[in-house]
């Protein structure tokens, strides 16, 4: 993540107020107001125009260095400062003039161009959520600053030491406390934890009665209005909430409170049990029982009870790995795939999809019959408009085919002599050539020497890299394209579907990995929300970067499931039905499922990474989707607010600086 962009985004775009608008809680209102003030404050580092405000430097350290991720050998040394202005504390970091200790001069030039991106002119400490200190036994000490928005700056390495003084100075000027869970985490402006808040303000009269109340609430949302749970605009829901006195009529607000209540209950269970989990093993068992009851309580309908007692069809390998004995099935039972007949019923005589929401719902719960994928995926991917007619789509296909051919001819027409002087093209083509022959070759469609479909993969990827030259080509793209081409069986149509998908997921492949970091950060927030003990465990074991979920997120579980399963999973994800970020809930669901093993076996980062890798082919997809659905529903607006705007697959937020522009040598 590039510091400069973070700072720019922070200063430039006012925060969405509903990010904080979780409840009527006055602390939250205050926090939101405070952050609004921060945003409106004029930039104090704008030294040219500033006379009124005096700047008092209270801390200054040279050789505080960034190791930009995309340059293996590069580093940018600079000066870290804390300064006071108008009573507020600010942090700044400015790179030194000129390159330093670089292994090669070409890297030096590259770095030179971008050093200013990392500059932090004036970061108000009120925007900082916590600072984590790393003091590895081998290597340099460094810190990571995490903003309340969830964004983090790249690590600052202290070549001249000075971390201790930094914290000492901070302590004098802002409210900073050491985290109970991790002595290396320093919380800044620790506004009360929303979960704790909700727990204390609810004053739960006792688990049992609350559970009863919850089952009532749940039956409201699960039976009548499950579809609407994100918007809460159903009659049953407003009926429920009209009984309560609320300042606003916004049904979303009522729902968020309700969700908070539901959620706090789950959390309470989780909290109660981790403490016992650490005390002895029977605690874990108690946890199982408690949650068990909770589920039964909520799912007392016959249908769900049936499902609940259905013994897991544990195939031999997964039985050993899926150790969590809890049949945590709260989500709706999976439906059969959208059939040809059902699909026909969704269309009006001209071919418009009449009720796109119902269609997305259907696909979310059951997927699509394979014969229909060719047609339906184009809608899900946003290539076709739901309200387009057969005729319009036919026309579009013809136009797009011509457009595709035009882009393709751009590289097709590059002669051998021209290519000699076009290094970037040669490198890119070389990389794509190397990768398409290493993509899904065990699938019959791509099998064997001189397979024409492999050539088509290559042509589409190379054409895409001209169509979107800034993004170019990155490994992982072929993993997305292979199933699309397999379904479409048409070069141009596959290209446009792929291009539509990249509109959403292109940021996964940015050189600076910002799309990935945003998602992994959101994932960490979701786990913090939905499984605090697991979150704490990860924090204590230095696993908070969630790099062990990298492959899951980068290519949306492509390597974790079979080719057939992945087509199903992707169409489910692409509906954006419950959430655009359903894939992140899926991550949480899977992690949650194995949390007992992860914590019980005290997995460290390495072991965890290996464990997660080896889950490939072992995950029960239907169950995982159902669990994720339940988590998504439970998290509700709280979950949504864990995910900063612009996190893929959401469309990027518009910024003048072009947050998603590639700025490096692209291949």
């Amino acid at each position: 993540m590039r510091g400069g962009d973070v700072a720019a985004a922070e200063a430039g775009s006012p925060r969405s107020p509903d990010l904080y608008d979780l409840s009527d809680d006055s602390d939250y209102a205050a926090a939101a107001a405070a952050s609004d003030r921060t945003v409106m404050r004029t930039d104090p580092a704008d030294r040219g125009s500033e006379e009124t405000a005096r700047v008092d430097v209270v801390y200054e350290k040279e050789r505080v260095t960034i190791h930009p991720s995309q340059y293996g050998s590069g580093r940018i040394s600079g000066k870290l400062r804390l300064f006071l202005q108008q009573g507020s504390l600010f942090l700044s970091w400015e790179p030194n003039e000129g390159a330093d200790s670089l292994s090669t001069s070409s890297v030096g030039v590259e770095i030179e161009k971008y050093r200013n991106l990392y500059t932090i002119k004036a970061l108000p400490l009120s925007d900082v959520r916590f600072i984590r200190r790393y003091t590895p036994t081998f290597g340099l000490d460094y810190i990571i600053i995490v903003l309340s928005s969830g964004l983090a700056f790249p690590p600052f390495y202290f070549y001249n030491s000075g971390i201790r003084e930094l914290f000492a100075t901070l302590k004098q000027h802002v409210f900073i406390i050491r985290s109970d869970d991790d002595p290396n985490v320093f919380l800044v402006n620790d506004f009360q934890d929303p979960l704790q808040k909700s727990l204390s303000s609810l004053e739960l009269p006792g688990v049992a009665s609350v559970a009863n109340a919850m089952s009532r609430q749940n039956s409201l949302s699960f039976t009548g209005s499950n579809d609407e749970s994100r918007h809460g605009a159903t009659s049953s829901m407003s009926q429920y909430s009209s009984k309560q006195k609320h300042k606003s009529n916004d049904p979303g607000r009522d729902l968020s409170i309700q969700v908070l209540e539901k959620f706090s209950l789950v959390t309470k269970f989780a909290r109660d049990t981790t403490s016992s989990l650490f005390r002895d093993n029977s605690g874990a068992h108690a946890y199982g029982r408690q949650q068990h009851e909770y589920i039964l309580d909520n799912k007392a309908t016959d249908k769900h009870k049936n499902q609940y007692i259905t013994p897991e069809k544990a195939s031999t390998p997964s039985a050993t790995i899926e150790s969590d004995p809890l049949p945590l099935v709260w989500g709706k039972q999976r439906d059969h795939p959208l059939s040809v007949k059902e699909w026909a019923a969704f269309l009006d005589p001209e071919g418009r999809v009449m009720d796109s929401k119902a269609l997305r719902k259907k696909v979310f719960y059951g997927g699509v019959d394979h014969a229909l994928r060719k047609e339906v995926w184009k809608f899900l991917l946003g290539y076709h408009e739901y309200d387009s007619t057969y005729a319009e789509r036919e026309y579009l296909a013809a136009m797009k085919r011509a457009e595709y051919e035009a882009v393709k001819s751009q590289w097709k027409s590059i002669s051998a002599t021209q290519a000699k002087r076009f290094t970037k093209f040669r490198e890119r083509k070389g990389l794509i050539d190397k990768d398409v022959v290493r993509t899904d070759r065990s699938i019959p469609y791509y099998e064997g020497d001189d397979n024409q479909n492999v050539v088509v993969l290559r042509d589409i990827l190379l054409t895409y890299s001209f169509y979107n030259f800034n993004l170019g080509y990155c490994q992982g793209m072929s993993d997305f394209l292979a199933p699309i081409l397999y379904v479409m069986e048409d070069e141009s149509e596959s290209f446009w579907c792929f291009a539509s998908l990249m509109e959403r997921l292109g940021a996964n492949f940015n050189r600076d990995q910002n799309g990935m970091h945003a998602q992994l950060l959101a994932l960490s927030k979701l786990v913090e929300l939905l499984d605090p003990p697991l979150h704490n465990y990860f924090r204590q074991n230095d696993c908070l970067n969630y790099f062990f979920c990298f492959r899951w997120v980068l290519i949306q579980f492509k390597r974790e499931f079979s080719f057939d399963q992945i087509m199903l999973l992707w169409e489910v994800l692409w509906t954006h039905y419950l959430s655009e970020h359903f894939h992140l809930y899926l991550c949480v669901a899977i992690l949650k499922k194995y949390r007992q093993r992860i914590i019980g076996e005290q997995m460290d980062f390495d072991t965890l990474l290996k464990f997660i890798n080896e889950l490939s082919g072992q995950i029960n997809l239907d169950r995982a989707i159902q669990d994720a659905e339940a988590l998504c529903t439970i998290a509700g607006e709280n979950g949504a607010s864990c995910i900063p705007p612009g996190t893929p697959p959401s469309m990027p937020i518009e910024t003048d600086g072009g947050l998603y522009v590639q700025e490096d040598e692209v291949l």
Binding site: Q70, S103, K434, G476, F550
Partner: protein, 210 residues
């Protein structure tokens, strides 16, 4: 299976140089040219014997693509050995060695044993980097050097085992504190008949990494 020691290895180097193929050749003794490209990291393991002691190699095969480096770096931590691989038919993969090495030096253990491998030596008719250049680079940077082929299996076994031998010697010489797992070494069960190289006394259960 019980082992006297477990060594963590990483395989690093540019994309397409044949890291995954080398691993597969070493663990499964086969060459599979249509293996999937690596996203993130993949794992392999094999038992070898050194000085009559069973040693388990846990091998991390990392993705070579430049843009994944910020992620793959986090996998270097605690590796006892590294195979740094380039492709003798592609000059640029050799040119990037310095940056890989710098990365390894920065993010891995200082005592890590690095073996430089010029892979695809079966394609010597397309050679773009001479044996001498590889040797020279290794000499300058204090690495062990070999040319190998994942396809013909030439030197593959040797590369992994020689690295293990070097690590083993470092243990014998007391360079590693084997009780500190951040060195990429775990001490396993005491094996019967082991005459005990000093380290056996601190043995513990193999644990979860098997």
């Amino acid at each position: 299976m019980s082992y006297a020691y477990l060594f963590k290895y990483i395989i690093i180097g540019d994309t397409g140089v044949g890291k995954s193929c080398l691993l597969l050749q070493f663990t499964d003794k086969r060459f599979q040219p249509v293996h999937d490209l690596t996203i993130g990291v993949e794992f392999g393991a094999r038992m070898i014997t050194i000085d009559n002691k069973p040693i388990k190699l846990q091998i991390w095969d990392t993705a070579g693509q430049e843009s994944f480096r910020s992620i793959t770096r986090s996998y270097y931590r605690g590796a006892a050995g590294a195979l740094l691989v380039y492709d003798i038919t592609r000059r640029e993969t050799f040119n990037h060695l310095a940056s890989w090495l710098e990365d390894a030096r920065q993010h891995a253990n200082a005592n890590m044993t690095v073996m430089l491998i010029g892979n695809k030596c079966d394609l010597s008719h397309r050679r773009a980097v001479s044996y001498e250049e590889g040797e020279q680079f290794a000499k300058e940077h204090g690495l062990v050097f070999m040319e190998a082929s994942a396809k013909t299996a030439q030197n593959v076994e040797e590369a992994f085992i020689k690295t293990a031998g070097t690590i083993y010697k470092k243990i014998q010489d007391g360079i590693f504190d084997v009780s500190n797992e951040s060195n990429g070494i775990k001490v396993g069960y005491v094996v019967p008949n082991s005459s005990g190289g000093g380290a056996g006394s601190s043995s513990q259960a193999g644990g979860c990494c098997s």
